[in-house]
Symmetry: D2
Subunit: 352 residues, 4 copies
């Protein structure tokens, strides 16, 4: 089975497993107070050129999202998110479980705009009955979004400006950050992310690590007691060095960015080929997630050899699905998929 | 100042204050274990013809809403509501503060349909990734809605049927229940409400009482530990008889329904007159809340003598406002308002 | 039935009911934005000589306790309380329901000491693993305590000093504040309370009002968004003036203190008499709640005419019970009780 | 540095790292829906001889504790635990953060008794004011306890019986389960644990795995929606097979029990030697955690070569510390420690 259904169906990069093996007999301090977390933190702080940032390592995306939000907000405050935001649709209400409302903004491609945020925050700021409504105190965006789209540097800056204008925190979910930064049309750097966001994370689970997300907090108010929130929310791994080590290995020489770049290149190949074959993109994604509207019959033929993710039914004969590449996707797999789709479409075309 | 801005700006019905005065020297058991609560409960159970229902008295609407929802749902379950539902917009995130997501359905007039509910519940029922999404386990509707509209008996039944189909609870917010049942076009009875809902409440605060909401629970699973939830959520008044007494007095001979009916009649007078003067209704409400699109200049002239509630700006010269009648609204006040609007419009008409 | 079982079994002071009747036709602004709340707030601020304090009116003790704690603490912070504190034993876990741990200190008479608090706070301050333990950020004491005991001015000052030393808030539950201040041996003034506490409340429910607690916040950080917490927690009465009016009436000329003083005087009579008859006090209370160890047979004889509250079984023939006086207790009732106990004990003595 | 401070300072068993390496190129289904989790679950169900149990893999102890408790309890229900229980002292209030009170029972050695539980549950059962107090609905015990002590089969059965009598769940924290079952004096089997508990877990983090806890749920009510609770609480690892694989490898042929048995054997050697040298045990632990009261000067001498964990100061010259062995402790390390302590004590004895 060749898996294109998601980007978390394989273990970790070989360099990580080698490193894990090498140090397996050594012992380290617990709960993230070890030299690997220290070194990984230094690398990250260098990358964003901010020595005073806080860096913390958590185990997964949902956990990271609600722990950050719980640490930042008071009970009467909520977080603005795209309707399609992961926290709003696929985390079993984890944010609400922590007591916070998600204030949704409509989105057609996973992104929201500074204008939308300004509208929501302004409405609260001007309200005469503030005590009756939830205070928008944080903005959550994902980079890239759940639909594979990205924000331009200008869009990010505008969002950041609105946040600062209203004293709101900007939180960037970077579960797939590597793939976003690797997009051909991306004009945003990791340093920009560090500058615009109050808190963001560098996703490891989907981008070379076995598991783990590196949370970077540039807002000292949020950082101050963050470790207490981590522990309270079950997000402080006893053997924290397992996380530090992975991020150190991935980031120390840019491996993280190279493997993401390759995955995005493969995704583009698939997109170009599919589009050429008359399979339209459902969303103009420039990253490793590609959404297509495909003949349902074609998908049926593909499913014995490939996995892909069902998104929704378009009509009786078409379905929207996601094909994901990842750091572990191989060039042959991409070629094979493209060829198979081509072959499967050929006869059908000749038939009709 | 003549207040039409809301329906909770006056104390309680004179019969209540008389009764309170009469028994003020007597002593009663605490926390709702008294004869007044007992008697009021009996009256209510008779009204809905359901002797096994649980009846509990709480102090206000927001408190009632979140206490009921907290009592009914488990952490991974959410409540379906109109986007415009009170719990979603004007309760400072009280439901989320209890850990539950509000799953919103679009609404143009405050109502949602059985189809919308069926769509949401069906989507969850058919999902392969249920553990990643919030389980819709309750439907919250208000009767009448925040916009003064009401559901027909058929609509209620359809909603109730969908709820039962999917094992969801139906919760009817009756903060203004009296006004809803008194609507000229209402074909729903209190007994219907008790039959279709798993839990609902008869609003007192806005309908003759000084304060208080009578929660009626026909679903024994929700009723079982409800008093624990009341206490935990600060919703169990030490002198519970103050609540029981009010509801007994209001309901024992139908006073509640008569005073609501009168308020709705006054609202209709205002509506008919305003519409006749060329002031359009923003929403076709048949209850005590009337929303109009009025010339902003006219509102300016009215505001020294009358209060009304700002809803939103329509354009540079028009504003949407709410005029509310209530059980304490007097016929003269209504007549005066209508006359003043008429007079104020006359010269303007002749001027233009 | 003559009720000594608690201090909340009668309505409100006659002056309040008169006032309520007088203004019943008038209309007021909602949610505590009315002239009565304003006036009551001014009186209270004068009483504590602190014009910048925030004053808010809530409906009951449990509600007040958790709303204040929710407003003051972050999720990883807890509140220190006597094991016997009301929040720890009789509020159905309301504080934990808001997400906060109660850090208990042992207590034999309802009080805790500055030393105990210093020990707990110091332990945290010196800990190397702060992120693994709950941060003590607030101290909750009741004045008088659940056992009727009070703190001296010196004790309060010491507790306040420890709180300030460690940056903790001091929260004084004054559900029975009037009775505490009226104790013969009390050397604390309301102004002292306002000076030592960051937040406290003046209990109305048990002390002359129909219902209501006046929360006074001298710490601006807690006060800032307090109204949002009130609304979110169902603690903002729509007709807030019902609360403001009661406190204004009770406090404007010292009525509150006079009626409390009388109740305490009656309690002392009962105590003196009972002790003289050989009935020992279980706790040396100087306020309106008196705990006695009584022959169970005597209690059996009393219970047809009087109510009292069971505390616990002492041995086969003795029971600890609470006798409560209140602002509505009448001198005759006290005399009658004392006489009856005397008579009931006489024959028994002669019998034995 | 030779680490005896805890049992989580080394990676994972070599067989696990080999297995991880072997399958690193393979891909698997996400979120625990893979063959490794399946196989590990089967092995565990065989071990407890209960094919209908639910088995779930989480990443750490704190996370497991609060997720299980959140899944089992309703808001007004609490969990009984020893005062010294991990959930009560070292998890930053995670259980309270989920809204539940921990009802503490005194404990001198980490254990609580069926009598204590019976007392607490009985008190609630007999209470007339149940709605004012937290309902004890679960009992949490750790096996072995935080002090290394264990329960006998009889004690466990008695506790289980009380739980069933009152309809309470029994939850056994098995973070160090392997070490408990390996204790020389242990008469409890894994199957017993599965029979007595409604839910328990087999700790991996401290017992051979890199990380992970295997939760076993024999109570179908708790199991039913457990995956929703896992996801909501950030406890569902995207690459769940990393956990399944580890438990399969550890349990398929008893490796888990063998390595735990060795660690306990080493701990006994240390205990025997230390005791023989006049160093008393602070607690009579029969598992891998040993608590000693040691001369502070001796500890000072040891600390350059060994790590141990500070527990508390006993007097000016003595300190209570923990020495932990683990699956990765080597015989030479134990021998070296014993020799060093012996040598360090010798001269001191001759000196004095």
């Amino acid at each position: 089975m060749i898996r294109f259904n998601n980007d978390y169906s394989c273990g970790g990069h070989e360099r990580i497993i080698k490193c894990l093996t090498d140090i397996n007999d050594e012992s380290f301090g617990g709960y993230g107070t070890d030299e690997w977390c220290e070194k990984a933190g230094e690398v990250i702080k260098d990358l964003i050129d901010n020595k005073s940032a806080g860096v913390h390592f958590l185990t997964g995306g949902t956990q990271t999202n609600f722990t950050v939000i719980a640490a930042a907000l008071r009970p009467f405050q909520g977080v603005i998110s795209a309707e399609t935001g992961h926290i709003n649709v696929h985390e079993t209400g984890a944010v609400e479980n922590c007591g916070h409302k998600i204030i949704t903004a409509k989105s057609s491609d996973g992104r929201i705009t500074a204008e939308q945020i300004n509208e929501i925050a302004g409405q609260y700021a001007r309200s005469d009955i503030k005590e009756h409504i939830v205070c928008p105190k944080m903005v959550y965006i994902s980079f890239p979004t759940e639909y594979g789209t990205i924000y331009s540097r200008k869009e990010l800056k505008d969002i950041s400006d609105v946040c600062r204008k209203y004293g709101m925190f900007l939180f960037i979910d970077g579960a797939r950050l590597g793939y976003g930064l690797a997009a051909p049309e991306c004009d945003v750097t990791l340093k920009d992310i560090g500058e615009y966001a109050d808190v963001f994370y560098i996703g490891g689970t989907k981008c070379g690590a076995f598991f783990g997300e590196a949370v970077v907090i540039t807002n000292s108010g949020i950082d101050e007691s963050f470790r207490s929130y981590m522990k309270q929310n079950g997000a402080m791994l006893a053997k924290g060095w397992l996380l530090g080590l992975q991020f150190y290995e991935l980031l120390k020489d840019g491996l993280y960015f190279r493997i993401a770049e390759q995955a995005v290149r493969y995704a583009m190949k698939i997109k170009t080929a599919f589009n050429a074959y008359g399979i339209p993109s459902y969303m103009e994604s420039c990253t490793n997630q590609q959404f297509f509207i495909m003949p349902t019959s074609l998908l049926e033929s593909l499913k014995e050899k490939y996995t892909y993710e069902f998104e929704k039914t378009i009509d009786e004969s078409h379905t929207c699905v996601r094909f994901c590449t990842s750091w572990y996707t191989k060039e042959e797999q991409v070629r094979e998929l493209i060829n198979d789709v081509h072959s499967l479409l050929q006869p059908r075309t000749s038939d009709s």
